[in-house]
């Protein structure tokens, strides 16, 4: 067991963890932060994407002990009170989700993109989200939502 200290969505947690414990299982099973789901076991689907010290990371590919001393933001930490993050708002308004299982990871990956590239083209959005799979939407409305959240005009 290893002692770690991780700040998640603004709260600092101190825990003893097995060195092999994945960050996503730490979030879900230990902290009860089940907003971040698991969709695969090969780091292809991106459903578990979180923000780790300012970079998006697939939390199935990070050990909890690697996150020691880090700040993690999950989809559950984006809203400020009742005010949603613009991406959360845009995903709803553009019908960018159906079952919603990929949505947390999709939003976190898009947030990372918009930080680096505040006004991406549709093509840039598609490439930035290549590591996040959605089986429901065909991606078109996800692209529209990310463009809308960036403040750009979007054809409906």
């Amino acid at each position: 067991m290893t002692r770690i200290s991780v700040t998640v969505d603004g709260t600092t947690y101190e825990d003893e963890v097995e060195p092999r414990l994945l960050l996503v299982h730490y979030l879900r099973d230990r902290l009860g932060l089940t907003g971040t789901p698991v969709g695969c076991d090969t780091s292809n689907c991106g459903a578990c994407t979180v923000d780790l010290d300012g970079e998006s990371a697939k939390s199935c590919s990070v050990l909890a002990v690697q996150a020691d001393g880090s700040e993690v933001t999950t989809v559950q930490g984006l809203a400020r009170g009742d005010a949603w993050h613009p991406l959360q708002q845009a995903f709803r308004e553009r019908h960018a989700l159906q079952c919603g299982y990929c949505t947390p990871g999709m939003i976190m990956a898009a947030r990372d993109l918009l930080r680096e590239n505040p006004a991406p083209t549709a093509d840039e959005v598609r490439h930035a989200l290549e590591g996040n799979l959605c089986r429901c939407t065909g991606y078109q409305n996800i692209v529209r939502a990310v463009l809308a959240a960036s403040g750009q005009e979007v054809a409906s």
Partner: protein
Amino acid sequence: MTEATEREVGRARLRKEDARLVTGQTTWTDNIQMTGLLHLAILRSPMAHARVDRVDVSPALERPGVVAAFAGRDLADGLGSLPCAWPVTEDIVMPDHPPVAVDEVRYAGDPVAVVVARDRYAAADALEAIEVDYTPLPPVLDLEAALAEDAPLVHADKGTNRCYVWPLATGEDYARVKERADVVLTRRYRQQRLIPSAMEPRAVVVTPLPASGEYTLHSTTQIPHILRIMLAMVTGIPEHKLRVIAPDVGGGFGSKLQVYGEEALALAVARRLGRPVKWTESRSEGCLATHHGRGMIQDVEIAATREGRLLGLKVDLLADMGAYLMLVTPGVPILGAFMYPGIYKMDAYDFTCTGVFTTRTPTDAYRGAGRPEATFAIERIMDELAAELGLDPIELRRRNWIRREEFPYPSIAGLTYDSGDYAAATDKALALFGYDDLRAEQQKRHERGDPVRLGIGVSTYTEMCGLAPSRVLGDLRYGAGGWEAASIRMLPTGKVEVVTGTSPHGQGHVTSWSQIAADVLGVPFEDVEVVHGDTKAAPQGMDTYGSRSLVVGGAAVHQAAVKVVGKARKVAAHLLEADEDDLDFAGGVFSVKGSPEARTTIQEIAFAAFSSHDMPEGMEPTINAEHVMDPENFSYPHGTHLCAVEVDTETGRSTIRSYVCVDDVGRVVNPLIVEGQVHGGVAQGIGQALYEEAVYDDEGNLVSGTLADYLVPSAVDLPDFVTDRTETPATSNPLGAKGVGESGTIAATPAVVNAIVDALRPLGVTDVAMPCTPQRVWQAIEEASA
């Protein structure tokens, strides 16, 4: 319903479901935690086919955190065979399907033992301690070889790998019709196996209450109601002691229309130990153990006149059942049987399907279930026939499709298509697509020998959906009915609860059902809550699959609401001292004709009926109502999809340049949701055409068994879609809706492959096997030029 009251149906309401999903406040089955929860892990066969000589789970019991371990034999008592509810013929071969194999494993992934531990890591670790001795048996992988006399058998006790033969011959005698034909084309198409790949892996949690023998089962299921019945039968737990809950479910596409061994196992283990149990599959485990889709060889023959009039169609199908028959495995190709003639008129139709056992993961419903395969075959061979006759593929279709004025039309396969306008949808699609310009560009590129060719693919599809008529399903030997239930509770404060038997997992029923109820009842959209997916809260239902939810379940909501208004009208007439016929009802307000100040609202009526101090003589308290809808016909969405593909003849790479779909799904409740369904459906159809395949090696191992190997398309692999609609209402339900869940998937695959072949036809290519990978396209070009 008067027009003034229709504020909601047809409106692009944002979804009520989304707030929870975008903020991470979800209730996925794997989220469930509770004190004392045990985790179940399953040891699976690493071989496609083997005798199980010995299973020793005792070493696993020594591992830390392990509470129990069971081999198949340990669980065989009190755990019956997994069910198949669709024995399509009287003499179908129905093998036993134990949730955990006892003597023999029949596909790579077949369960052989189970470990129960205190956390998921401990359970997974302990699997490696289990000792199993196998004697390898020959795999059965080739559908044609499997039917040979001396073929090794998947189920030796059955004496054959032939599961069933299901024939259908309608119209004139095909052989006679063929003699009249000027042109007869024969083609073989291959429907590769697909892995449905819903984003949420499967999971199940069972909470037992030993003192009363009650069990609550949460599952990632599309079918809580059917699951409850079937699990009661498999486990012997009385149905009324079993509650099944489908919480938030992350996509299904048919893969969660199933009664899985793991669900039965979790119940059996929870019963044995008297403790709550959870099982969650990993993705690679799911690739092996969640049912697959498609898997067919189609021999198709079409007979036509020189002028391009279709005379007859003959289809011989070999359908891969996989190792066992699951819930509707044998029925999937039969759902397609009625759709091979598509939208066309002809004189004879001759269909035979042979179901074949193989040592692979069982197949079952995957989005479209039988109908994408049928549509692919007819739409592909129509393009081949057009090429043979030197006709434009659109023109050939025009010469043969059912005309608007011919509806209702008795199709050659025996269905009654109730409504449609194929010309209108096609004309709209051609205009949006810029068909003539693209044809001109295609010609130019061909003339200048451009290494990047342009191809245009056409798919003018129809499908049968809204899986309903119980009577017809009975004729097809399906084990259940096709009705759907809804009830409406008018709460004393004027709010409304709609209880539905459908079980959404991404389709937005909560939003659409609210719109339907709000319109009929004249209450605000926000005042309606929709209750679903819990057999205790929504006790009656047939669940969600086959694009049935709106056309059967939504229609049931509509009819239940009409009944509520009927009851409310009686109470209103009584309270307003008027005749029922003298009351107007609009926007939730009853008023007396001619004296509009004499009025009362449906909310006031709800309270009056709740207190029931002054009800009409002989009327029961409350104005709640329920309705069970059983439409007399299927519904028949149709549409025209056009795809332009650029094919690089030097690399074999195909790139979709534009994709236009004009769908007629009848009357639309929520255009936003409908568009989303079309997008997602088309994406999956394109996935089959270009990217996806469950690949097995010669030993029967699944080679593409992770998301690293199985190409679920990403955002860069798919184009933008141009969508539009025509609207000819269905006549089989009061909403006029036709269903939209599967149409995109049904339509898209042939549109894409037709486009690729169209691009390469001048090079002599007449077919490319799916998925049309760069390698396959390049090889097809090489072979054609050799």
